[in-house]
Amino acid sequence: MLRRFEVYALRPDAPVEQVRDLEAACRRCGRFIPEVLDCAVGTNLSDAPVQLVWEHAYASPEAYRRYMVHPYHAVVLDRYLLPDSPERIVIDGPLGAGLYGYACDTPSYRMRDGVRRIVLLRVDTGAAETDVARLRTTLEQAREEVPDMVVSVMAANTMGAAWFDGVTPVMGPPRWTHLWEQGFSTLDALDAYRGGDSTMAAIERAGWDRWNDGVVKRSAELFYEVSADVAPADGLG
């Protein structure tokens, strides 16, 4: 599977109606392109200067490639996004290209509702594979100490560079090399994690650069309440 996030920084003067239209277009995408699974949107509540997040997934790179050439993608979604479109309502984001994602064997990211948290990580490019593997294990095991963390997936941000076909990089390595995707039942549960005494909460409070010989060089976070499409075609069944 391919898990994918598009993150948008909105033009400050973007008309509210058009913003709502973009949100709806993303949320309902699976109704028009059946290959697009688990569509949901959310308004970012973190300090990161981006406002809208669209999360979704594909069963395979082939499914992703069908999305790429579908009219709904070009006609409806890109209407609001492409730099030369007269109806563009986004701006180039300060977090780098606003597309992140990873390959996974199963939809381990899936949750029906709640709060999604995405921690973007820049892992030291010189880090040993074993160190990165240890990092992944530690992050994914965070759930064992935090019962309200219903999702915890850490993976390399392969979609950032392979956005054209889901597999082949068409540009250099992304600014954010990895993602740590989390799910919480509520905002209170997320707050409880942050203030709690779990290993990862302590590490995050102390600063990533102080942990594990500084294998994580930088981080940024997004979190939002998940607003999913209710249509049966969106794969939430």
């Binding site: 009219p71 030369d84 068409v170």
Partner: protein
């Protein structure tokens, strides 16, 4: 099929917008694989904003996907987009697919 951008500009921005399309826009779009079809404006003598319609051609949405990739990877495309945005006050983007011509009597 055709991509039709219709932008609304102040009368004193018409030439600037058309120049941008003829230069940077045409370079980016044609090198990416699109074909220029036409540019046209509404009248500037009626006291209203002027609409400029620019039309590009390509084969289908598969072809457009390639063009889109080439554009996004071209740094000039982002420059073109920013410059165009600064010159217009509104507009629309639509894709048109050909329909069969009327049958002859």
């Amino acid at each position: 099929m055709h991509l039709v951008d219709t932008v609304e500009v102040e009368p004193d921005q018409v030439e600037g917008y058309l120049d941008l399309v003829r230069t940077l826009g045409a370079a980016v779009m044609t090198e990416a694989g699109a074909t220029f079809v036409s540019a046209a404006t509404t009248s500037g003598e009626v006291g209203e904003h002027i609409h400029i319609q620019v039309v590009w051609a390509f084969d289908d949405f598969v072809h457009w996907n390639e063009i889109r990739k080439n554009m996004v990877l071209d740094p000039r495309y982002h420059q073109y987009g920013g410059a165009a945005a600064s010159l217009r006050v509104g507009g629309t983007r639509r894709f048109f697919m050909p329909t069969p011509p009327p049958s002859s009597p």
